[in-house]
Symmetry: C2
Subunit: 308 residues, 2 copies
Amino acid sequence: MINVLIDSIKKKDAPIVVGLDPMLDYIPGKILEDAFAACGRNLAGVSEAIWQYNKGIIDAVCDLVPAVKPQIAMYEQFGIEGLQAFRRTCSYAKSRGLVVIGDIKRGDIGSTSAAYANGHLGKIVIGKHAFSPFDEDFVTVNPYLGSDGVKPFINVCKEEKKGLFILVKTSNPSSGEFQDRLVDGTPLYEIVADKVAEWGLDHMGSDYSYIGAVVGATYPEMGAALRKIMPKNYILVPGYGAQGGQGKDLAPFFNEDGLGAIVNSSRGIICAWKKEPYAERFSPENYADASRQAVLDMKEDLKQAFVK
Amino acid sequence: MINVLIDSIKKKDAPIVVGLDPMLDYIPGKILEDAFAACGRNLAGVSEAIWQYNKGIIDAVCDLVPAVKPQIAMYEQFGIEGLQAFRRTCSYAKSRGLVVIGDIKRGDIGSTSAAYANGHLGKIVIGKHAFSPFDEDFVTVNPYLGSDGVKPFINVCKEEKKGLFILVKTSNPSSGEFQDRLVDGTPLYEIVADKVAEWGLDHMGSDYSYIGAVVGATYPEMGAALRKIMPKNYILVPGYGAQGGQGKDLAPFFNEDGLGAIVNSSRGIICAWKKEPYAERFSPENYADASRQAVLDMKEDLKQAFVK
């Protein structure tokens, strides 16, 4: 699947993933009201609205970007109904040719990690039939529990030719509280990165491993160090745009081949219609066109990462 | 909710939580076949079987223990249908007077952590109505992302009078890979524990904080150190029984008042009917009676923790 992702990044000339992290106040009023009219003013209604909203964005950007990254928390908060919208979104995105990165940040041990891996990336066999409950292409994984937590995910990836992005250095302000602690002079995130590199080398696609890492755009100097530690691991970079990162800061995350990183933007794209410079040009009904324009602008901005 | 939990631990004289982590091969054949006949040989059938199986165990142990801890991965692996069994299990356990600890190990940042917190512990307001999608009493949280990830959970706990158990030192063999790394001579798990103690003091129930910690039974010497660092935080102790911990090893996790810890057993209780010494005394139909006997035996074994 890492080969599929890279091919699509090259073909669309866009190392961009659109974060489908819908908040209720991002959704144009008419979509919400139509969904409430159809399904009720309840969790089912909200979930229908999220699905319709996502579908509009997927249709508007699927020829421009290689991948989407639905953040499962934004669906799980609406319970079973919300998770139905998550599943539907993943499945529809795949039908439109997009790679789906499930931002689930799961992490547990042994049979429990295996259960998450099977549910999100693998298959559940019942009698003579196999079911793929959520069926993402990649998922994000939290490494705090060590190899016991990560290996069951890797095993399923091997079987299914899917992939992982393991949290190394996250984009948030307090990520340093534990991740930056120095162990014999080496920050913990580099120790995690060493492990990711090691796991990655055993599980290679053509040029890159199908075990990747998450490193926040907000820490470009750390990105440079981590790029060197993990030369063969794709880096998923959150924190662009709304969280502060900019195209010109992203150079350290890429390799000389122009590959090696894929940059996420969520709010900046899916909520573009509510923010300048898009708000004055796009009406709420044209929210998906605003998202498309925001992707085009992001593509342009990211070129700054490759200016020598 | 920490006060409710402690009152129930005292009343039932059992610092025990039953881990409801069903694996398909734990479930007696007749329950599975009945569920398949009713719902189909598919994810819905499996989920119905899990629910029936859990219900039997809850009915058999609810007068003996204060709490259950469903591990959400074991439900999520079966997709939407599995999560319906999770929700049903949580709700039924509460109706039988049990405190529900959702073992979800979520951890993200800002609005994303808030979404998990609202969905699992809090409320979602839509128009004039409030919905509680999963409605556990406590959840487990992964601290790797720092305060940004934990605080949104704490805020919801404050509002709803609910609680957390934050991963400090997990019970698995490779937990030391990152958690034991020495930062200026102090292991990372103690640094996390310092933070848990600090967060905890700001959010106190009567005698204990409603912010607790997870520390594995498999590391009793670390338990002793962590008990001192977090005197007012309840410790949820996994890894008893099947993972190797024993009653006599658990003394370090408790305070002088005989409180401060609650010990989880999953397989050892819910799968007792398949293992000696229970397998020869209980038939598959009496799996729940075997679970009840395993709880009584665990209660007896835990008394060793208090022998001076």
